[in-house]
């Protein structure tokens, strides 16, 4: 349980962007895993099976609460507004951010891109999964995953350029 706790929690919190909901969903995930453990097929990797359950729980929650989980459109991210309450903003803009600040800044943008891109970035980089594993979890073709991750990175790069960050 400890092995998956942090990764699952971080995936969920970045998808729903609400700590309380993330805690509830993480709990629901582990309880579900325990209740359906007897249905686990040993042909599949346990982690893939578990992440699939987690992914479905989160997607169901987002679908049911579409109004609350208001994602920003790809082109409407106002990063400076978005980060105004965080400690990464500077009087001199974003040009002189340290590496650590840049990291926080980029991951803040990730939290605000559309869920269809965000989920893939999170599965790829937080869960450290391969494209094929992501395809099994999300039931999307590998080609679509590649394209969406590419698009997500394009968005991130554009945002960095927009804010004058060296890319």
């Amino acid at each position: 349980m400890r092995k998956y706790e942090k990764k699952i929690f971080n995936f969920v919190i970045r998808m729903v962007r609400n700590e309380e909901v993330a805690i509830d969903l993480t709990q629901d995930f582990f309880i579900k895993i325990f209740t359906v453990l007897d249905k686990y097929n040993f042909e599949y990797k346990f982690s893939t099976w578990a992440y699939r359950i987690c992914y479905n729980l989160v997607i169901d929650h987002i679908r049911k609460n579409q109004a609350q989980v208001n994602s920003l459109d790809d082109d409407s991210i106002s990063t400076k507004d978005m980060l105004s309450s965080d400690n990464v903003t500077r009087d001199d803009g974003f040009k002189n951010l340290s590496r650590e600040e840049t990291r926080i800044y980029i991951w803040k943008i990730v939290e605000h891109i559309a869920p269809k891109f965000r989920e893939l970035i999170l599965l790829r980089y937080i869960q450290d999964l391969k494209y094929e594993e992501i395809a099994e979890i999300t039931a999307l073709p590998v080609g679509t995953i590649k394209n969406r991750i590419f698009k997500a990175k394009e968005i991130l790069k554009q945002e960095m350029e927009k804010d004058g960050l060296p890319v």
């Binding site: 805690i23 993480t26 309880i31 790829r124 991130l156 790069k157 890319v167």
Partner: protein, 185 residues
């Protein structure tokens, strides 16, 4: 080789390209400054993404999940289970140690029953039945105890085990005390 598409560069950085193709891309990057510049620009982003900023889940999360998975057993149930478990363990150990099934008295009674008739047979049969029932009860108790232990009694299990162990030690002491001096000769 034609210049690399951005898509290709990103897939390359993600390590999702076969080793032969990776070598071709690496060779191309050595000779093409444009592609190298694009790759470098994505490499920084890739490095940042590969080191996600993570949040720590609350420390009470796992204990709370465990509570939901294994709801707490009411106190009186635990106490009753503790007493029952201790008793069963204690008696079971004595039972195992003295091995009643090999008790010569029971054997003698069974042998007598085989070669006797009339009222004596009925008495012996009654004794045998009681003995068998006790044995069955022991087995049932053991099964019940196993079931209790499977419901995660935690502390209860440890205490019951300690009591069982002390039961074993006690039974050895009793045996030693009852041993006649010079019996080994």
């Amino acid at each position: 080789m034609a210049c690399l598409s951005d898509d290709k560069i990103l897939t390359y950085l993600d390590g999702e390209i076969k080793s032969i193709e990776q070598a071709i891309i690496r060779d191309h990057l050595l000779i093409c400054p444009d592609c190298r510049r694009t790759t470098d620009s994505y490499a920084e982003l890739h490095k940042i993404l590969a080191q996600p900023v993570t949040s720590e889940p609350p420390a009470w999360l796992i204990p709370q999940i465990m509570k939901r998975i294994y709801p707490e057993i009411p106190k009186y149930t635990s106490i009753a289970a503790l007493i029952a478990a201790s008793f069963i363990f204690f008696v079971t150990w004595i039972y195992i140690y003295f091995d009643f099934s090999k008790n010569s008295l029971i054997k003698a009674l069974q042998l007598t029953a085989d070669s006797t008739s009339g009222w004596l047979v009925n008495i012996i049969k009654a004794i045998s039945t009681i003995y068998n029932s006790v044995q069955a009860a022991f087995k049932a108790c053991n099964a019940f105890l196993n079931m209790l232990l499977n419901i995660r009694l935690g502390g209860t299990m440890i205490i019951a085990f300690a009591l069982a162990f002390s039961g074993l030690v006690l039974s050895i002491l009793i045996r030693l005390l009852l041993k006649k001096p010079g019996a080994e000769k």
